[in-house]
């Protein structure tokens, strides 16, 4: 960045601060200023023009230190830009591309891109056809996602949303996707924890953290998700698939509300400004599945996060985001209290786009599971009456119990989807009668699959040659001895349900 005097000489325009109210500054002068233009104050601090009146401009401060009345301000002639480049991989930066760790130096990327741009038009977009794996079995089987989808992650605080995000990032980073985590107004310790997690998991080379802490100026916090999306667009244009996690947009909305109320905008519903929907929509619309100029197809998958209060997903911001995304994954606080991990409610969660990316096999598994779990729900509600349950009911409850145990997954644990399908087949065919034995066997199978190439190729063969669950079950029955011996399990006759 040049000095104030240099910008003054180039722009030949000057303004004087008339009033300063926390992060909003009113200045006169600057006759040719444009909206969203960066301005520089006499003391080197930066601001962005929020609105312009007849005699004065309204500037949003992008720095912690305040400005005084009478201070000079000049235009820089540039819009808000973020430096983008592969030099940022493995680093934690703020929306201006500066390292968060004071000891760390970053080679400043040579290219900069404007932070706030209009989303691409319809002609550059393509139908979402590739599946997006999260490494969480429950999501991959019941609420499948696609590359380029925008899926809202919603739930109360401390219900496991961040663990789910960690698992998804870990899975996608190991598959070669570039993952960008936008931490909006987070605690510094949380940002540090995430950085350490990425480093320990060895996925530094595929991840970037763009974060602002809660003590940063409201203007900078507001820019965080936009900066993350700008960086994602750069990597997409360079030929990579990208995952952007925005944690969380509810905080973003609160800070935007703060800025607008200080700027004396008329408050709308819940005191949010009237353009809160537009603020988030123009951000999320920049994600999707795109066709580049060279004909290649790349995606930006977006996982915005929003917090609900007391399980209320009908809040203003929550419903706004649900309407502008392609589905939502709901973390149920009651399920969390019961001990379900992950505490995802598959009946409330929705994926509008994911199913079109699934193979026939996964579609049939999805349908079977959903209808079975629906049946289980109905039976469970009646089993609270103290009537004697019949054999069929008992069996359904037992199988459902095993299915929930099968879905249980530890924090930071990611699973291979094909392997989970094969395990599901064994479960569906009643190979296990006991939950404890099932958990032990699943651990054995997972370990064997990890270490044995034979097991990996067997699983891949089984899944790729099956077009439906029944077909896969038939194949598993035929090859049961081989399968069980490869995984070191006890040979037992598997039967059809």
């Amino acid at each position: 960045m040049k000095q104030f005097q240099q910008y003054l000489t180039i722009s030949e325009e000057i303004g004087f601060v008339e009033a300063c109210n926390q992060s909003i500054v009113h200045a006169n002068g600057l006759p040719n200023a444009t909206l969203q233009e960066i301005v520089m104050f006499e003391n080197g601090e930066l601001g962005v023009i929020l609105s312009m009146g007849r005699e004065e401009v309204e500037i949003l401060l992008l720095s912690k230190s305040s400005v005084k009345a009478g201070m000079k301000v000049t235009r820089t002639g540039s819009k808000q830009e973020m430096p983008v480049g592969f030099e940022l991989l493995g680093k934690a930066v703020n929306p201006f591309g500066q390292a968060l760790n004071t000891g760390q130096s970053i080679d400043k990327p040579k290219i900069s891109r404007p932070i706030d741009i209009s989303p691409s038009g319809i002609n550059t977009r393509k139908r979402i056809e590739q599946s997006f794996e999260t490494g969480v079995t429950l999501v991959d089987l019941l609420i499948p996602l696609g590359k380029g989808q925008r899926e809202l992650v919603i739930g109360d605080r401390k219900t496991g949303k961040t663990s789910f995000l960690y698992q998804t990032i870990l899975k996608q980073a190991t598959m070669g996707t570039i993952c960008i985590y936008a931490g909006i107004g987070k605690k510094t310790t949380d940002i540090k924890k995430m950085e350490t997690f990425f480093h320990n998991a060895g996925i530094d080379n595929n991840t970037v953290i763009i974060a602002t802490s809660s003590e940063d100026p409201a203007g900078v916090i507001f820019l965080t998700p936009y900066a993350a999306m700008t960086l994602a667009e750069y990597f997409r244009d360079e030929g990579h698939d990208v995952l952007v996690v925005m944690d969380d947009l509810f905080t973003h909305a609160k800070f935007y509300r703060e800025i607008m109320l200080i700027g004396r905008r008329f408050p709308g519903r819940n005191a949010y400004p009237a353009d809160i929907f537009y603020t988030h929509a123009r951000l999320l619309e920049r994600a999707g599945n795109f066709v580049l100029a060279n004909g290649s197809e790349h995606s930006i998958t977006c996982l915005p996060v929003v917090e609900s209060v007391e399980g209320d997903i009908a809040g203003f911001i929550q419903t706004n985001l649900m309407s502008m995304t392609d589905g939502h994954i709901y973390f149920d606080v009651d399920m969390f209290a019961k001990g379900n991990r992950p505490a995802i409610n598959p009946f409330v969660s929705v994926s509008r786009v994911g199913r079109q990316t699934q193979s026939q096999l996964r579609l049939t598994i999805n349908r079977e599971l959903i209808s079975f779990l629906t049946l289980h729900n109905k039976i469970e509600s009646f089993s609270h009456f103290s009537a004697e349950a019949g054999a069929g009911v008992k069996r359904t409850l037992a199988v459902a119990d095993r299915i929930f145990a099968y879905f249980t997954q530890g924090a930071n644990e990611v699973k291979n989807l094909d392997l989970q399908i094969v395990i599901f087949c064994l479960l569906w065919a009643d190979y296990w009668q006991d939950n404890t034995k099932m958990e032990k066997d699943i651990a054995t199978i997972t370990q064997t699959h990890k270490n044995s190439i034979e097991a990996q190729s067997l699983v891949k063969d089984l899944v790729s040659h099956a077009n439906s669950l029944n077909e896969l079950l038939a194949t598993v029955r035929k090859q049961q001895d081989k399968i069980l011996s490869v995984f070191g399990l006890q040979v037992v006759n598997v039967t059809n349900i």
């Binding site: 030949e12 325009e13 000057i14 006169n28 006759p31």
Partner: protein, 167 residues
């Protein structure tokens, strides 16, 4: 006399923002005197703090007759209107390398009133480092016509020539 006409007459005599500030201060003092035990003559004396021409003009306008409870409100309203108009006047900040005397100030002010606008007021700032000329800031526009800038440009353009002299 109504405020616009008075303003037109007054603005011709006002050169700089400090002149305007003095006039506003005196007008405020005059208003404050309504609620004190000052006599008519003492009230007239208040305007004597300004330059003779301005003093005569304002005395004629507001202090010709004694201030009574009947005419007090009208006069105060007129003064407030005049103050508002004076405060809204545009100003031009000129940074000079020297301290201009009264004659020079009047000279520049007259030039401005003749060539630009009657109600554009001057605000002089002193900065020796510009060497000569002026840096003008008006209506948000910043123009550097200082000798320092010209010297710097000349040095920049003829750098090679100058460096050649050194060898």
């Amino acid at each position: 006399m109504d405020s616009p006409a008075l303003f037109d007459q007054l603005i011709i005599l006002l050169r700089t923002t400090s002149d305007v500030a003095s006039v506003l201060l005196v007008l405020q003092e005059f208003i404050d005197s309504f609620y004190s035990s000052k006599t008519h003559e003492e009230q007239q004396q208040i305007f004597k703090k300004l330059s003779p021409q301005i003093s005569i003009l304002l005395t004629e306008a507001f202090a010709k007759e004694p201030i009574t409870p009947e005419n007090q409100i009208t006069i105060k309203r007129q003064i407030d209107d005049l103050s508002d108009t004076l405060q809204k006047c545009k100003k031009m900040i000129m940074t000079l390398a020297f301290q201009p005397d009264e004659e020079t100030t009047t000279f520049f002010s007259e030039w401005i009133k003749k060539n630009v606008s009657k109600d554009l007021l001057l605000d002089f700032q002193f900065d020796k480092s510009i060497v000569g000329g002026a840096v003008i800031i008006v209506g948000g526009v910043y123009k550097d016509y200082s000798v320092k800038k010209q010297l710097s440009n000349k040095f920049q353009i003829q750098k090679e020539e100058i460096m050649g002299l050194l060898d």
